[in-house]
């Protein structure tokens, strides 16, 4: 008999919401798993939007002097593509993994602050919608005194100063209208979401680890979450301040970055990249974590050099704060600074190399299962190495002054962020699919997805190295026919459409397998970490009782020992152990107290966009709405009863059903 505790159904104004199914249950949820799933879907939606923007860019560039998009539209599209992919797609998809997996990997019931977790998600949604509302309400135009031949279309009414927003071009004089304000304030709001979740994860990792889960027994993915959270906590304040300066310059006539008022446009570059380079590691470290889980599992070997991988991760995170000016080698910095940042950039290649060699050491001598997550993880290594090597060529400052601001750079960072981060993310999406949905994905479609993506990716981004070296400059709406760059640009565009097909295959697989996939056993991969020791899909309560950890890869060591040759040997009684774990996982025998849902994170989060609009339109009523929402959210949050009175009901086999999210 299971005892599940439910809140009393007695309503008053401060009652906590009680829906367990349907839309309201999702909107008010504070369950880290549901929040993770929502993060994933929202981020994937933005990934599709960002991809669509990329396709428009590629159509425009498919031939020289093309006129598919206007200059204004093109500039808005590349700005939104970059901003979307970084802030609205890859960062939140990583957050989806953090949310779903972190508590499971450390044996916790939830994150340290469940309502704060819901708040980060809703602020992310609010920020994303705010930024994209620029297509409805934003305005853009020619610089003061300049002329345009045609009306600015809706497509062009989006931020157009680049995701890097270089000043003074992104200032009011050269980027008039409200679009760049949407950008600055939108990023500000999104930054709050990331900051909030960073502190939540740091606290969770430091305080919520189950018995025996010492730091050096944590899975590498948890370690990388830890590293990323610190990166966020230290780098986001820098961009927050810089964005406030921009907003002040644009809205209130300050001159932080304007030469005519004694400001300095190069200062913006320093501040932006002081955030922007750690941001690169914010995007890639989660993928490092994911492949560090996938490779050992499908090699049936422990991760080679676990401490080296962990320390290298933190080494990268730390040195990542000292390399920012390599984005500015052609800018106004002295030769001494060029040399210094060139050297620090070379140094960061060392811990990155250590990771790659350790991954190779992991698969070396293993027994490799080449299924979809493993293929993506292996593809990740192959593609990331290319991005890493081209990265080293940037540390050679004189060579970088030729390559910077060309498609060579575009090729480089897509090898790192698409071939790296996104391949890692897809590996993780397939790997944990059974845990999240309780069903298996379709392996054949998964493999088709992988090969299409690998081919499409290299056809798209491989030739860009050439285009850059042979003179194609970034962020250019047209290129002259005489540059003879047309042929390879056409190939690149074809590659982009192959990628689009690959994504469609992925979506088809996802939708099909969610409904019709085979039922997944709880440990389909014979995996290593404790999230696989609980039923699939994960029950709402995660662990029926807090697990006790005795070693790194605890779950594996429960199943396997080593013979005198050091080969893995399945322990006797493992089958019984697994049956017992599944039985226990589904039927908790103690009362489980789960955090109650709440409306208030949502209300608080949606106050922020109103404050943003209020700044842009200098509107007191909008400001009042924003403040009122913040106050309701904040006060409600503070005063809603922390503990409902609980009644205990005798529960039944239904427990299994309430654990799925259909």
């Amino acid at each position: 008999m299971t005892k599940i505790i439910e809140p009393k159904k007695q309503r008053n104004i401060f009652s906590r919401p009680s829906s367990e199914t349907g839309v309201w249950s999702w909107i008010t949820t504070v369950d880290h798993k549901r929040i993770g799933i929502m993060y994933g879907y929202a981020a994937f939606f933005f990934l599709l939007v960002g991809g669509l923007e990329a396709l428009l860019l590629r159509i425009q560039l498919s031939q020289p002097d093309n006129n598919f998009l206007s200059a204004a539209e093109y500039n808005a599209m590349f700005t939104m593509h970059g901003t979307t992919m970084i802030f609205l797609a890859i960062m939140p998809i990583s957050a989806a993994f953090f949310n779903y997996l972190l508590p499971l990997q450390i044996g916790a019931r939830d994150v340290a602050f469940p309502r704060l977790n819901a708040l980060s998600f809703w602020i992310f949604v609010a920020g994303g919608l705010f930024l994209y509302s620029t297509f409805l309400f934003g305005t853009a135009g020619a610089p003061e005194g300049g002329y345009l031949d045609e009306e600015v279309s809706r497509l062009a009414s989006a931020p157009n100063g680049g995701w890097f927003g270089y000043q003074p071009n992104a200032g009011l004089r050269y980027s008039p209208g409200t679009a760049m304000d949407y950008w600055a304030i939108g990023l500000q709001i999104l930054g709050i979401a990331s900051l909030v979740s960073a502190f939540n994860f740091i606290t969770t990792i430091l305080n919520m680890r189950t018995k025996g889960m010492r730091l050096m027994r944590m899975p590498v993915f948890t370690w990388m979450t830890f590293a990323v959270s610190f990166l966020l906590a230290f780098s986001l304040p820098i961009i927050a301040i810089a964005l406030f300066f921009v907003t002040f310059d644009r809205q209130f006539g300050t001159t932080f970055f304007l030469t005519e008022g004694g400001g300095d446009p190069v200062l913006w570059q320093h501040l932006f990249w002081l955030f922007g380079h750690p941001e690169v590691y914010i995007l890639i470290l989660p993928a490092f974590g994911i492949v560090s889980e996938v490779l050992p599992t499908f090699s049936r070997k422990p991760l080679f050099g676990y401490p080296a991988i962990v320390f290298a991760g933190f080494g990268i995170a730390f040195i990542g704060f000292g390399v920012w000016a390599h984005h500015m080698f052609a800018s106004a910095i002295s030769p001494v600074a060029q040399a210094g940042f060139g050297l620090s950039t070379m140094i960061i290649a060392v811990p990155t190399g250590v990771k790659i060699f350790n991954w190779l050491g992991t698969i070396w001598g293993g027994k490799l299962t080449l299924n979809t997550p493993m293929l993506f993880a292996l593809g990740f290594i192959g593609m990331f190495v290319i991005g890493g090597l081209s990265g080293v060529t940037h540390s050679v400052v004189p060579a970088d002054t030729q390559q910077t601001d060309t498609y060579y750079i575009v090729a480089h960072f897509h090898y790192v962020l698409f071939g790296g981060a996104l391949f890692g993310i897809f590996s993780g999406l397939y790997f944990w699919f059974p845990k999240v949905w309780g069903r298996m994905y379709n392996e054949t479609m998964g493999k088709i997805h992988f090969w299409l993506m690998l081919i499409g990716f290299n056809v798209t981004f491989g030739p860009m190295h050439w285009l850059g070296l042979q003179g194609q400059v970034r962020r250019t709406w047209v290129y002259a026919e005489e540059t003879n760059l047309g042929f390879w640009n056409l190939i690149v565009t074809i590659g982009a459409f192959i990628l689009a097909v690959a994504i469609l295959v992925f979506m088809a697989n996802w939708i099909y397998s969610r409904r019709k996939g085979e039922k997944a056993p709880f440990d389909p991969w014979d995996a290593r970490t404790i999230e696989w020791s609980i039923p699939s899909p994960t029950p709402v309560w995660n662990f029926s009782k807090a697990p006790e950890i005795k070693s790194l890869d605890d779950f594996w060591h429960q199943k396997y020992g080593e013979d005198e040759d050091g080969r893995a040997v399945r322990r006797e009684g493992t089958d019984e152990l697994l049956l017992k774990l599944e039985e226990e996982g589904l039927n908790p025998d103690e009362e489980i107290h789960l955090p109650s849902p709440s409306y208030f994170p949502l209300i608080l989060a949606f106050g922020l966009p109103f404050l943003g609009y209020a700044v842009i339109y200098k509107s007191i009523p909008l400001a009042l709405i924003g403040v009122i929402l913040l106050l309701i959210g904040g006060f409600g949050w503070g005063t809603e009863p922390l503990e409902e009175e609980f009644e205990t009901s005798e529960e039944t086999p239904d427990a299994k059903e309430s654990s799925t999210y259909e």
Binding site: A71, D149, N169, S331, V354, L368, Q402, Q470
Partner: protein, 338 residues
């Protein structure tokens, strides 16, 4: 010549090596075809790094592919040995990359300082960035021109650069790397062309609507051609046109339609307006115009004068709604400005 041939072979080797046909013939912005000592130094450094990277690429990808094929699961394969790590290897693959990187770092740092040093006896030229064209001033000769930078061959050039509005980035790939043009401060770049040749330039940093059309040419001339170019540039435009000619009519359009608000023609109209536009005194000998986005011919000029914003979105040159006759006259006049 010998070096050049070698460079070319290397270039071709690389092409066959990677993409077979990837190399683009006649790419005017090709950063891999250096035509002067600065670009060549950079090129050498790039290839050094590149070949080291290629070796590492093959080692790592080779190990990856070997593992995938050799260690692939098969039914009779025993469980693998559970190896947790190896400290010797960890130290090895930390030290070896450090040594390799050091071997790149030393020439890198040296080259950084070499490239930054002001060459002796360099010809000084000022480059001023505008949305969306480059202006050039020769302080020694009191010359102001635009779009086409004219330099003597085999002579070091020292560019002193700044921007009049937003950030720009001056790039002549065959002569040197890029350098930003920043409002409110000066940056420097050295150029040096081996031979008399025409090169392409392009603004590297995103600078607004018509960034892609902010291009340029660098024309390297023999010393004697350069000297006569200087003498010609120092002359004012003729102001004694035959009053019955079409060119004279064009000059009147220039003076009366609004062009003088921004454009100067020395000897005809010397007052620079607030919005700076290219000096037109010797417009007729420049082979490109409108930020070097268009070739200087009457067809292009007609399009441009009829509606500048259609060619360069955001341009500060208004559509003056000139009649066909006025445009024709103006083009005729501009053609006389040699």
């Amino acid at each position: 010549m010998q070096t050049k041939k070698f460079l070319k072979t290397r270039h071709l080797m690389l092409c066959s090596f990677l993409f077979i046909t990837a190399c683009i013939e006649n790419a005017p912005l090709d950063s891999l075809s250096p035509a002067g000592p600065y670009a060549r130094t950079i090129d050498d450094l790039f290839w050094l790094t590149f070949w080291i990277a290629v070796v590492i690429f093959f080692i790592v990808q080779g190990a990856l592919l070997f593992s995938v094929f050799y260690f692939k699961d098969s039914p009779d394969k025993p469980e693998p040995k559970q190896i947790h790590g190896n400290n010797f290897l960890e130290i090895l693959w930390t030290i070896i990359p450090v040594i390799i990187l050091a071997s790149i770092a030393v020439p890198t740092v040296r080259t950084i300082f070499d490239l930054a040093r002001e060459p002796e006896d360099a010809l000084k030229i000022e480059v001023i960035g505008h949305q969306w064209w480059f202006e050039y001033k020769y302080p020694d000769f009191e010359i102001t021109t635009a779009n086409v930078l004219v330099i003597p061959e085999d002579t070091p050039i020292r560019l002193e650069m700044w921007s009049n509005d937003v950030l720009h980035n001056y790039w002549v790939p065959k002569l040197n790397g890029k350098r930003y043009l920043v409002p409110g401060q000066k940056t420097y770049l050295n150029l040096h062309a081996d031979n008399a040749e025409e090169f392409w330039a392009q603004c590297g940093e995103y600078c607004g609507l018509s960034h892609s059309k902010m291009r340029g040419r660098v024309l390297s001339l023999s010393q004697s051609d350069f000297d006569s170019w200087v003498i010609n540039q120092q002359k004012n435009a003729a102001n004694d046109l035959d009053q019955n000619s079409l060119a004279y009519e064009g000059q009147q359009v220039y003076l009366n339609a609004g062009c003088t608000q921004c454009h100067v023609i020395d000897g005809v109209w010397d007052v620079q307006g607030e919005q700076i536009a290219p000096n037109l005194t010797h417009f007729g000998i420049r082979n490109v115009f409108a930020g070097a986005a268009l070739k200087n011919n009457s067809e292009n000029l007609t399009k441009w004068l009829a509606n500048p914003a259609q060619i360069k979105p955001g341009t500060f040159m208004p559509n003056l709604e000139l009649t066909e006759r006025e445009i024709k006259a103006l083009i005729e006049y501009l053609g006389t400005l040699k």
